[in-house]
Symmetry: C2
C-alpha cells in the first residue's frame, strides 16, 4: 500500500475521485480546487446526463459516468451520494477503486455506513460527515465556500489505519471544515439529538397544532413560525435520514415523550414549582448554548 | 347605565383607566394618546414606586397608585396586570369602578378570567387578548406602535352587552389592533395550540437534546437553534401562562405525544411510506401557513 503513510505535504500530485456531483460533491470539488492541495479531481455521476449537467459547473475536473475512468490512479475516493447509496456501494466500488486508495464519505448517518464500508475496504475507509447545507440541493447550488467554518465530524474506529485517518483529516480540513472526531455510534446519537429529533418534533408540532382547525394557524406568531420552520424541509430526504438513523431517533423521540409527560403531569397537578423548574432548566440550557452566545 | 349604548364617536370626552403600567398597559396608554380618540388616560400601579417609575414614560396621563383616584369618572377600565392578578381582581375593583363603566382586559388566557369577571361585572365585562410582545417587558419597553397590525382576539359571551362589546372593539381597534372574535373556550384552545404548545415543545426538546451530554449542543445548527429559540423566554411568566391554560395545554401535549408515537412506530417498523406521508403532511401544513406565504 504505497500511499498509506504519505500525506498531502509530499511531492506527489494526488488524484481525488468524488462520487455524486450534488451540492456536497460539487462544492467539495470546487473547494479543493481553490485549496492549496496539489491535486487532480475526477467527479463521477451515476448517469450520463448527470455528468453532462455537472460539467459546466466543474471546470478543470474530469466529469464522467464511467467508474473505471473516474478511479484511474485514484488516491482518495470521497463518496457523496445519498446515505443509502453510500451504504450499499462497497461491493460494486471494490472492483474499481485502486487497492492502495483511501476512502471517505459525506453521509449524515454513520454507523451503518462505516460497518458496511469497513467490510469492503477494511482500514482504508474512514467515515466523515461535513455539516453543511441542506435547504438547497443539486450541482446548481454548489459553491467553493460551502464548507468554510462548517463542522465536519470524522468517525474513525479502532480499525482505521492512522495514515488513512490523517489523509481524511487533511482532505476535509483543506475543504474549509473545522474538524471534530467521535466514533460512529456517538455521532449518530449526537446528530439524532441536535438535528433529527428537532425535525421530528417540528413536524409533529405542526400536525398537533393544526390537527382539527388549520384556520387557527392564522393566529400563530413568531414562536410557532420559528419552532416549526424546519418542518417545511424536503420530506423525502428527511424520511430517508430519519429511517437511516431510526434507532437513535426512536430513542430521542422516547426521551422527548417522557419530557412532555413530566411537564403534563406537573401541569395537571398544578405544581407551580415543578413547571417553573422544568422551564427554567430548559431556558438555562438554551441560553448557554455555545452557538447562541 | 348612561354610557352603555354610546361609543367613541359621541361628543363626550372619555376617561380610560388602565391597570398595570407594564409593556402592554404602558403601550396601550401611548397608543391611545396617539389615536383619534378624545380621551383622558389614567394609569394605576399597585405600588407607589411603580407609579413613580412609570410617570416619566407616560406624559399626559394621570399615573397613580390610588384606585379611587384612578377610577374617578372612569368610562372604560382595561386590566393589564398578569392573568393571575386579573382573574382575582373583580371583588376588589367592584368597590371602585363606576357602575356604568365598561371593563375589558389584556390577559393571554381567557376562560377563567371571563368567568370570574362576568361574576363581578356582569354584561359590562368583555375579555380581550392583544397578541403583541412577550420577549421584552416593563414600562421601559412600552411603545405607541406595539399593537400596530397585531391581532387582538375579543372574547364576548352570550352575556356581553352589545354596547360594551362595541366600546371594547373600538378601544382595541384605536390602539392599532386587527380584531378577531371567538368565545373564551375557543380562544384558549387555539392559543394553546399556536403559542403555549410550541413553548412546551421547545422546552421539552432542549431537555431531551441535551439530556446526558450538553456538550453535543456544540454540533447544533440553525434547525435546533430556531426550533428551540422560545425556550429561552422568561420561565416564571411562561409557567404562569401554561398553568392558567393547563387543561388545553394538556390536551395539546397529549396530541403531540400521539403524533410522536405515530412517527416512532413508522420508524421502528421501517415503513418508508408512512414516514414520508407524515413529514409531507406536516410540510404542506407548514408551507401553506398564512403567515409564511
Amino acid at each position: 500500500m504505497p500511499l498509506l503513510g504519505q500525506d498531502f505535504s509530499g511531492s506527489l500530485r494526488r488524484r481525488i475521485t468524488i462520487l455524486g456531483p450534488g451540492l456536497i460533491g460539487g462544492s467539495l470539488a470546487l473547494a479543493l480546487q481553490r485549496s492549496s492541495l496539489d491535486c487532480d479531481i475526477a467527479v463521477w455521476a451515476r448517469r450520463e446526463e448527470g455528468a453532462r449537467e455537472a460539467r459546466p459547473f466543474l471546470e478543470g475536473c474530469l466529469v464522467t459516468d464511467q467508474l473505471a475512468e473516474a478511479f484511474e490512479n485514484c488516491d482518495i475516493a470521497v463518496l457523496c451520494m445519498s446515505p443509502h447509496a453510500i451504504e450499499s456501494s462497497g461491493p460494486l466500488l471494490q472492483e474499481y477503486i485502486p487497492t492502495q486508495a483511501v476512502i471517505t464519505d459525506a453521509g449524515s448517518v454513520k454507523e451503518k455506513i462505516v460497518q458496511s464500508l469497513e467490510a469492503s475496504f477494511g482500514n482504508r475507509f474512514v467515515g466523515a460527515h461535513p455539516m453543511a447545507g441542506s435547504d438547497a440541493s443539486g450541482i446548481q447550488a454548489a459553491r467553493a465556500g460551502l464548507f468554510d467554518g462548517a463542522i465536519c465530524i470524522i468517525t474513525p474506529t479502532e480499525n482505521s489505519h492512522p495514515s488513512a485517518l490523517r489523509l481524511v483529516r487533511e482532505l476535509w480540513s483543506a475543504a474549509g471544515c473545522s474538524l471534530r472526531e467521535m466514533n460512529p455510534a456517538q455521532h449518530d446519537r449526537a446528530i439524532a439529538r441536535v438535528s433529527h429529533l428537532p425535525h421530528a418534533a417540528a413536524a409533529a408540532l405542526v400536525r398537533s397544532a393544526a390537527c382539527d382547525t388549520p384556520a387557527i394557524l392564522e393566529l400563530a406568531g413568531s414562536g410557532y413560525r420559528d419552532s416549526t420552520r424546519i418542518a417545511g424541509g424536503p420530506s423525502k430526504m428527511w424520511a430517508e435520514i430519519l429511517l437511516d438513523n431510526r434507532s437513535e431517533v426512536g430513542n430521542g423521540i422516547r426521551d422527548l415523550q417522557n419530557q412532555l409527560e413530566m411537564l403534563k403531569i406537573a401541569l395537571e397537578s398544578g405544581d407551580r414549582n415543578a413547571v417553573e423548574a422544568f422551564l427554567a432548566d430548559a431556558r438555562e440550557l438554551r441560553i448557554n448554548h455555545p452557538l447562541t452566545k
